[in-house]
């Protein structure tokens, strides 16, 4: 069992790089597809606006066994959820200059290692599955357009 796990880990290491990639969905296009809803952009605003305030959101979640994400530590969750909700609560209809950071991304090798370790733990009955705390921080400037979103 231990030899198989060692081989599996070595194989996983050789097949995967040490880079970690975190992806999120598309934000608002310019011109916006619709003037309704929240305008979200990492850039500026396509029109005149008034700054209403600033927001910082920290999403927390747990990665179970290397592959199963639970909670809100994704890019889309905090941006489309808490950030947009807070902007709406402040009276805004857009958030611009959005900056985001996945504080502790997981490489493919680390995922494979966590999965293999979880299997080993469960097989031996000594420990549970591997769990890793995950954090994503998002900031943005809340604005209200002085007219329709362009």
């Amino acid at each position: 069992m231990k030899r198989a796990l060692t081989v599996f880990s070595a194989l996983a290491l050789s097949l995967s790089g040490c880079s970690a990639v975190t992806r999120g969905g598309a934000l608002s296009s310019v011109p916006a597809a619709s003037d309704r809803g929240m305008f979200l952009s990492t850039s500026g605003a396509p029109g005149r606006y008034t700054t209403l305030g600033f927001v910082q959101v920290r999403g927390y979640g747990v990665q179970v066994a290397g592959y199963q994400e639970a909670g809100h530590a994704t890019l889309d969750g905090p941006i489309r959820g808490a950030l947009a909700a807070e902007a709406s609560r402040m009276g805004g209809n857009g958030v611009i200059h959005i900056e985001f950071l996945d504080e502790n991304p997981t490489t493919d090798f680390e995922r494979a290692q966590a999965a293999a370790q979880s299997i080993q733990n469960l097989a031996s009955g000594q420990r549970g599955v591997e769990a890793k705390d995950r954090y994503v921080t998002v900031t943005g400037e809340v604005i209200r357009f002085e007219g329709a979103v362009q």
């Binding site: 500026g44 605003a45 396509p46 029109g47 005149r48 606006y49 008034t50 700054t51 209403l52 305030g53 600033f54 927001v55 910082q56 959101v57 920290r58 999403g59 927390y60 979640g61 747990v62 179970v64 066994a65 199963q68 639970a70 909670g71 809100h72 530590a73 969750g77 905090p78 959820g81 808490a82 950030l83 807070e86 402040m90 611009i96 200059h97 900056e99 469960l122 549970g128 599955v129 769990a131 921080t137 900031t139 943005g140 400037e141 809340v142 002085e146």
Partner: protein
């Protein structure tokens, strides 16, 4: 094995949460306070310099922010005075970062109250002085 997996997933799902902090700023032209934007402005302006303000403290019992280390305190008690002190009308390209603890961490901070949670808020930006009458922000 299934029970352990299930318990792990359920525990993880219950652990997920989001912490939100925000600060409202006065609209440009409606207040004597300096304006602040994370972007640029198109009006003629003079750059007075760069500024970074940091407020550092601790959260007593995991929750009591006596010194004021959140966005609200950092903005109103540190950034705005710094802009005024520099003689600026406002700040552009403002960036900020504050320490955010999850509710679970705050509960632990309350239980282990002899170890206060460190907390910091930092703002950076470029202080500017407008050369003409102030108008609304432009793209």
């Amino acid at each position: 094995m299934t029970r352990v997996l299930l318990a792990g997933v359920v525990a993880a799902a219950l652990c997920g949460c989001t912490v939100v902090n925000s600060v409202s700023v006065p609209a440009r032209g409606t207040s004597a306070e300096p304006f602040v934007t994370a972007g640029d402005i198109t009006e003629p302006h003079e750059v007075l310099g760069l500024v970074q303000v940091t407020r550092t403290g601790v959260l007593l019992f995991g929750n009591l922010d006596v010194i004021g280390t959140d966005l609200e305190a950092g903005f109103k008690q540190a950034l705005l005075p710094a802009i005024k002190e520099a003689g600026g009308d406002g700040a552009v390209r403002v960036r900020y970062q504050m320490t955010q603890y999850t509710p679970a961490a705050r509960v632990l901070g309350a239980i282990f109250f002899i170890f206060p949670l460190p907390s910091t808020v930092t703002f950076t930006g470029q202080v500017v002085k407008l050369k003409g009458p102030a108008v609304a922000a432009a793209p």
